[in-house]
Symmetry: C2
Subunit: 167 residues, 2 copies
């Protein structure tokens, strides 16, 4: 199974694709960020995210998408723009007929580190260990996207459907 | 000039297209709602909005899009889903290279009725009068979308650029 993890944001949108064989270790196929220069108009940023995700899906052929759930907003302006980017990710999933699963930041941290309040550094290190990489994945946003993909691989072993985005 | 007004929402997304000649009255070309059955998964709703808006733009050939600004949220869950739909509308604008303008609910009400706190009924009636229609536009969401388009026609007479969506 191949899983595309996405960490949505309009300034920087992280992504990562992992391959989870029935036996043997999980392999990192691709990771990076979709980044637009500062002051790029928001509609253009969203179009860039849309086009880039379409390309990634065509190239890496994931079977599903895993994304961090947005369930509260510390900052209303940032929250709105993250939700706008999320809308584009959900749209891309539907366009390619891929199921999309959502996990709260807390679920992702807990599944990766055993601790719901792990910091960025601990998270990056656990992603590195899980994939047996020499170095952590940079930047943060790419590592976070890969973490979302890894967490879905853990939950899906148990036939996870409760995290599927429905309404 | 042709203006596509959109009232974004994931359950129901209103739209309306007006033609604003240099001289003479504004004409309503098209209006309606993009509605999906209850319990349709969110990604499918967003895809439906995306496909429908693409069709409307190809058919009605608007020069720009006008949309209600989301700047506070009464209900966080509804707010997130409206922002997700908004993201798709902004994406469609960029895809067709159409400028998109945003007006706050207050600006729209004030421009249409002279009163920033007009109710739904007053708004529908003012939309009807502005377009010299026999009946109000139904449902509310379609009338609201047409109102956003009319308000942009008013502001754009003064060479409005401050309402263009940028960052």
């Amino acid at each position: 199974m191949r899983i595309l993890g996405v960490d949505p944001g309009t300034g920087i949108c992280g992504f990562g694709v992992i391959s989870v064989p029935k036996k043997g270790p999980t392999i990192l196929l691709d990771s990076g960020v979709i980044a637009t220069p500062p002051h790029t108009p928001l509609p253009e940023r969203l179009l860039d995210i849309f086009n880039s995700l379409n390309d990634i899906i065509r190239e890496d052929k994931p079977d599903c998408i895993s994304i961090e759930k947005l369930f509260f907003m510390q900052n209303i302006t940032t929250g709105i723009s993250v939700a706008e980017a999320r809308g584009v990710v959900l749209l891309v999933a539907a366009k390619h007929d891929l199921p999309i699963f959502e996990y709260s930041p807390n679920e992702i941290k807990k599944a990766m580190t055993g601790y719901g309040h792990a910091d960025k550094k601990q998270m990056q290190e656990m992603v590195r260990l899980h994939l047996k990489l020499d170095d952590i994945i940079k930047p943060d946003d790419a590592s976070d996207a890969v973490a979302a993909a890894i967490v879905h691989s853990m939950f899906s072993r148990n036939g996870d459907i409760e995290h599927e985005t429905r309404y």
